[in-house]
């Protein structure tokens, strides 16, 4: 990529939740729901004497995406690591329930989160479970849910499990997706098990490229809000119904993965086994080079048509 292209980019990674929403949706179409003016804050953080935020760390609302009505939520990475507390979670659950009433084309969720907000431990866990149940109802009604991951906090904990229960995951290389985060694994198993400060290890284990190669991210885009927007436009009208057939296919894929890569110790071993030439150069490849090299080696999923 040349310098001029680079300058034109509108970094998803660097942007705030509101900036991401404004860049994803059609111009001037976003209408926030339960915004900061309503002063709905976390009662539990207040009780603990912690600073609160007037949106409790998540911005929600409606707008247009390429002229189609959508709902959107974006977690604010700068507040409590994007973690889910009672109010924060209920905003996303309410939004997904609203999707059933308001006949929108799709729901976009910009996830940037460490998972449960431990300051509200029990309420945070059930909040994520409620998000999941509400998402399944929306999916059942044929409303696709797109998850976008490309922020500072990645997408971890219960929200990592949740993300994979939605129709599509769009990631950038900078995004990370897992259930247990680097520090959690290191705390449990020691630094020999996982060195959370080894950034290269973190990215090749949980980052966008590896998730895409495993088939755990549907699309991998450059760190540019416009790139996320283009892919979202393409996918919002393609719901993936949860059927016995689609779940059995997924079961087969996950079973084959256990057999094929169960002995691998590192992402590099997996990429090598996949058969990708120059597998050890993958972390350094830019998005275009990466896609052209890995295209023949991607796992196929039956439900998404080749475009």
């Amino acid at each position: 990529m040349n310098l001029a292209d680079w300058r034109k980019r509108d970094s998803f990674y660097e942007a705030s939740a509101r900036r991401r929403i404004l860049g994803l949706l059609d111009q001037n179409s976003f209408q926030e729901l339960l915004g900061p003016a309503e002063r709905i804050t976390s009662p539990h953080l207040e009780q603990l004497g912690f600073p609160v935020s007037f949106d409790d760390g998540v911005v929600i609302g409606s707008g247009l995406l390429n002229g189609k009505k959508v709902l959107i939520a974006a977690q604010e990475s700068g507040f409590m690591g994007g973690a889910v507390g009672e109010v924060h979670g209920a905003k996303i659950t309410g939004l997904l329930q609203l999707a059933l009433i308001s006949h929108v084309t799709a729901v976009l969720l910009v996830l940037d989160t460490g998972g449960v907000r431990l300051h509200e431990a029990n309420a945070g866990l059930v909040a994520i479970s409620e998000i999941l149940h509400a998402a399944f109802r929306a999916r059942e009604a044929g409303i696709p849910i797109l998850v976008l991951i490309g922020g500072n906090n990645g997408c971890y904990g219960g929200m990592g499990i949740f993300a994979r229960c939605c129709d599509y995951i769009i990631m950038s290389e900078e995004g990370r997706l897992s259930v247990a985060g680097p520090e959690v694994i290191e705390t449990a198993g020691g630094v020999e098990e996982f060195d959370s400060r080894d950034r290269a290890l973190v990215w090749r284990t949980m980052g966008g490229k590896h998730r895409y190669l495993l088939g755990e991210a549907d699309r991998l885009v450059v760190d540019d809000i416009k790139a996320f927007r283009e892919v979202a436009i393409e996918l919002i009208q393609k719901p993936k119904p949860l059927t016995l057939e689609s779940i059995l296919q997924e079961h087969q894929r996950l079973g084959e993965r256990l057999v094929a890569y169960g002995e691998c110790k590192d992402a590099l071993d997996i990429w090598k086994k996949i058969g990708i030439p120059e597998f050890d150069a993958i972390p350094l490849m830019d998005n275009d080079a990466f896609h052209s090299i890995v295209k023949p080696y991607l796992p196929r999923e039956g439900t998404e048509e080749e475009t």
Partner: protein
Amino acid sequence: MNVEYALDKICPGGYQIKKDNLVISGHGVCKGQTFAIIGTIDHAAIGIEVAFDLAAAVLEVIQRFPQRPILLMVDTQGQRLTHRDELLANHAYLAHLAKCLELARCRGHRVVSLVYGEAVSGGFFATGMMAERAYALPNAQIRVMALQAMTRVTKISLEQLDELCKTSAIFGPGITNFVRLGIIEDIWQGDLENCLDRALRLPADYDNRAELGCERGGREWAAKVAFRIRMSAEKV
């Protein structure tokens, strides 16, 4: 508690389970109705293989015994915390398990869970919390995080947390907290066969945990906030 001890009381009419590593599966009879039993034992850490085997057990019930109710027996210390599990995407295996349980519900299977041992965060999330209703035995242990660990992460003193736990159900471990929050529908005591029978006779409602938590005084905001958002449909 071991799983046989619990199942003996739930199904005096008999049951059959097979154990495969940390996963159990089989069938029992409750008041003449056959139901499927799927669960984990020995405080299982749910890694990729356990999640996959649980999903396989759910899919088998869906395919071979349409609409047969499923009792999930929960005993988990949470998701397994290893490099290998995350490398192969444990979140995807746990999500797959959740999707299998959702598919079962959509195809007319009742899904009820019972925490008979331990239930911790991610492991509970993808199993017991996927049921229509979750129940617990009186000596079960449920938590997201122990208070000592919470102190470390949040830098809130243990004294302050202990004090808060006297009035709030949000912070601390323990089934009474989880009942107050609406996460656990009820604690099973006495005749456990009756308890399961009653649970299976309740309507297969959608998630009402926020409303229940509000009624029980454990968390009032979840239901209110979601309600306010639903009420804004005309603005969308």
